[in-house]
């Protein structure tokens, strides 16, 4: 655990009216690791994601990203800039472009770096065609990874729930982001597919991706996470390796008190 810190969240506070959804939260995400964010429903996990990727602005605190040798304060940036710095995310309820094809969904994630502007389209720069070809190959590579190649010309809304989850994951990979925020990537998909996703996450980690994961399945979390952050009412109540968390009395109390974590051995 001595890898470099990629993302650090410092004394983050987010209030909705009188409710403190995130309460003085600090944690760090290190390079090439999987960090899991767990906690009961409504404990503020998704809010933390929304803060990191810029959909919400914190009341106070900072979110620092190390990218290409520089430090960026994410709390001041709009979502699209954060995405361009190499932070991708998936959503708990997938947000695909449902009337576009699987391939189009993938291509939208690949990089065009200024080549998808108005005038580039009007004058049909030749470099676009070349880039388009390259990106198509890239997209195909990632589709293969999630075994959706045969569906590439299908309209996204015709996919099953599990396939949608996989496409969302592949799309976040196609952005070539270094940091991936994954909101319950295995929720509601059947066990066989689940093991596939777990394998995929491991491969991604080995390929140098840094993953922040929201997950309810404790079996999965203890299997793949290097570090676990436990939230309750927006506060961090514990942090540590899977072994430490499982033994932590407060965590057990929170979960058993809510009857929510039957899978905690």
């Amino acid at each position: 655990m001595c890898a470099e810190i990629v993302l650090s969240v410092n004394s983050l506070v987010k209030e909705f009216g009188g409710l403190r959804a995130v309460d003085n939260l600090s944690f760090e995400v290190r390079q090439d690791t999987i960090t899991a964010l767990i906690g009961p429903n409504g404990s503020g996990k998704t809010t933390v994601f929304n803060l990191i990727n810029g959909f919400l602005k914190p009341n106070s605190g900072s979110i620092l990203l190390q990218s290409m040798g520089r430090t960026y304060e994410l709390a001041k940036l709009p979502p699209y800039k954060i995405a361009r710095l190499g932070v991708a995310r998936t959503f708990q309820n997938t947000r695909l472009f449902s009337q576009l094809t699987v391939m189009e969904n993938m291509l939208l994630a690949t990089r065009y770096d200024g080549k998808e502007g108005f005038f580039a389209a009007l004058f049909q720069l030749r470099s676009i065609k070349e880039l388009e070809k390259q990106n198509r190959r890239k997209a195909e590579k990632y589709l293969e990874l999630v075994e959706l190649t045969h569906k590439k010309d299908e309209i996204a809304q015709n996919l099953s729930h599990g396939q949608r989850k996989l496409l969302d994951l592949a799309r976040s990979l196609a952005t070539e982001a270094e940091v991936l925020l994954l909101d319950e990537p295995t929720a509601g998909i059947f066990p066989e597919l689940k093991t596939k996703v777990i394998e995929l996450l491991k491969i991604m980690k080995e390929n140098g991706k840094t993953i922040l994961l929201i997950e309810h399945d404790m079996g999965m979390v203890t299997e793949i996470a290097d570090n676990i952050v436990v939230l309750n009412y927006g506060r961090k109540i514990a942090e540590g390796t899977p072994e430490q968390i499982i033994k932590n009395a407060e965590v057990i109390a929170v979960y058993s008190g809510r009857g929510d974590m039957t899978c905690l051995r």
Partner: protein
């Protein structure tokens, strides 16, 4: 024969309007309710330049399109930064404002009396007076417009537009500056509508505010929905059908007091049938949202 030419000239002008509206409403999913405002700005700018400054209609055409695009930028910049349906209100507001300016700024627009005697287009010093010549001119513009819009939408740029229509939040998560895309497409749409306005003014040689009411905006919107949301040839087809169809009613020999309301009723009826049988429009693939 002149009559048929006339109808198809008007159909062509409406085709340009519905093509340009399809860019925003159809491809990008922006709720635009005051498209006639840009039509009006193009028409008045071009006519006033010709009548008061004696400029050739060709310069008026470009000036009209640019003024229209500029007003699009002014109204679009604040309202497109927001997500949701605010644009519906601001464009509706723009439609009302532009109409009342045309009606009440009497010193400039002569108000409800209208502007008569607008000069026609000239080519190599010769004035275009014949309807069939004008038919050519307008449809060259339609085809150019189709070509340009096709280019725009079948490109990475167009793909981003469609992604905004599907899910703007997801598009932003993938690093797209959606406000910028929405603004550029909105301004382009206003530009093309301005061209349509200028073509209209120099063809009819007379304009008054009554050609640019809210009803006009809704009619163009119907053409887009009719032909197919997010479909380029569909927009042209929608415009031609909705212009030609009411004209056919004239041959039924109804008195004009009945014919005018009948036109509106038939629009309504056709739309209801279409939405029930084919919600994506005649040639469309996407559902209207």
């Amino acid at each position: 024969m002149e009559y048929i030419f006339y109808i198809f000239v008007i159909a062509g002008i409406y085709a340009i309007l519905s093509l340009s509206l399809n860019l925003t409403v159809g491809f990008t999913g922006l709720p635009v309710l005051g498209h006639a405002a840009f039509f009006c700005i193009g028409a008045y700018t071009s006519s006033i330049l010709a009548l008061k400054a004696g400029l050739t209609p060709w310069i008026g055409l470009i000036a009209g399109a640019c003024t229209s695009a500029m007003s699009g930028a002014i109204i679009g910049y604040p309202s497109l930064r927001l997500k949701g349906d605010y644009l519906a209100f601001t464009t509706f507001g723009l439609g009302v404002i532009v109409y009342s300016v045309a009606k009440n700024w009497v010193t400039l627009t002569r108000g409800p009396v209208g502007l008569p005697g607008i000069p026609r287009f000239t080519i190599f010093g010769k004035e275009i007076t014949e309807d069939f010549q004008y038919l050519f001119l307008v449809w060259i513009f339609v085809l150019t417009n189709m070509f340009l819009i096709n280019r725009l939408v079948n490109s990475p740029f167009g793909r981003v537009l469609r992604s905004i229509r599907e899910d703007e939040i997801a598009s932003e998560t993938l690093g797209k500056n959606t406000s910028k895309y929405k603004l550029s497409v909105f301004v382009a749409s206003a530009f093309f509508a301005g061209i349509a306005g200028s073509l209209y003014a120099h063809y009819t040689t007379f304009i008054d505010p009554s050609s640019f009411t809210m009803t006009e905006s809704i009619t163009v919107l119907l053409m887009v929905i009719f032909g197919g949301v997010g479909n380029v040839p569909g927009s042209v087809l929608g415009a031609v059908i909705l212009v030609v169809l009411p004209e056919l009613l004239r041959f039924l020999g109804l008195p004009s007091s009945i014919a005018a309301p009948m036109r509106q009723m038939i629009y309504g009826l056709l739309l209801v049938i279409l939405m029930l049988r084919r919600p994506q429009g005649i040639m469309g693939t996407y559902k209207f949202r």
